[in-house]
Amino acid sequence: MVLDGLNYVKDRLDGTLSYRWSCRMGICGSCGMMVNGEPKLTCATFLADYAPGPVRVEPLRNFPVIRDLIVDLGDFMGKLVRVKPWIIRRSEKPLSEGEYLQTPEEMDEYKQFSMCINCMLCYAACPIYGLDPHFIGPAAIALAQRYNLDNRDEAADERMEILSEHDGIWGCTFVGECTRVCPKHVDPAGAIQRYKLQSALDWVKSVVMPRAGA
């Protein structure tokens, strides 16, 4: 793995080399780097695929570099919180009424979007984010969809207010690279386009039936 190569360099050649990694099994999302210009999880990228080399490893594109291969996560973390990625109820039902039930079909609606590991490869692949860092970005929008499509959640309207702003879904021009590089097959590009369609339909409804839902 490319990560093993980096560990070799750190152990044997240059102890000052700095990079993030943890689980070595593609679930912690901390070892994302550019490998020969492609955003990759270095723990899931075979060195053999790049033989005989050389392999060029760079910090994730589109993020400020703190040191060596370590980028600043602050911007992404801030955006993640903005889309409220947690289940919101208008009113919680009392404990005595038991848990919120969900069928396998209802779970399948959002499961794909829940596979996101916040590795930020999609941000490194997104030219829109590179050109305009205010764009809220693929993973944050996919995670918003994960909660919107969850039948236990009731805050789709709140999230729509945040995401239909200029820096939200309409910043996306559907390059589609986020979906291609996603190691978990989340399809953020699909999530964003579904959001756009929903937003447009909401607008049409508000024009045709201005008093509905008021």
Binding site: P64, D72, D75, P133, V175, G176, R180
Partner: protein
């Protein structure tokens, strides 16, 4: 540029600049820029068709003059190029449609290929109607 707050003793982090030619070095980025550019062709075709309608309303001589102008090599080349861009625009649009549209039928999700296919079927139907209007003697 970023929402990062620096303290007086905090180092300025390194930020690589995005090259003006970022879209040249990757096929998918290049295709994306071509697709964005194709909107110019769409605009041109709209203007062209509107001009044609205006000319038709001005009588036969004006219409003939418009046809002569249209058969100039430069205009012809522009229109052929526009057609190529329009096809790119339509094909990429149809192929992306399944990602944006999630349709349920009897509690089952309709497969993406079917959604794309129905888009192409719609295109074929509209094309057939237009061709019928043009070539069938009513």
């Amino acid at each position: 540029m970023n929402h990062v707050s620096y303290t007086p003793y905090h180092p300025r982090w390194h930020r690589t600049r995005v090259s003006t030619y970022w879209w040249l070095w990757r096929r998918s980025y290049f295709l994306f820029i071509l697709r964005e550019l194709s909107s110019l062709s769409v605009a041109w075709v709209v203007v062209y068709v509107l001009a044609l309608v205006v000319r038709v309303s001005q009588g036969e001589a004006a219409y003939r003059a418009f046809l002569d102008w249209s058969s100039r090599p430069s205009v012809l080349a522009l229109n052929v190029l526009s057609l190529a861009f329009l096809v790119l625009h339509a094909v990429t649009w149809f192929n992306l449609a399944p990602q944006a549209m999630v349709v349920h039928f009897r509690h089952r999700r309709v497969p993406g290929a079917l959604i794309a296919a129905s888009n192409y079927a719609g295109l074929a139907a509209v094309t057939a109607i237009i061709l019928a209007l043009l070539f069938v003697q009513w």
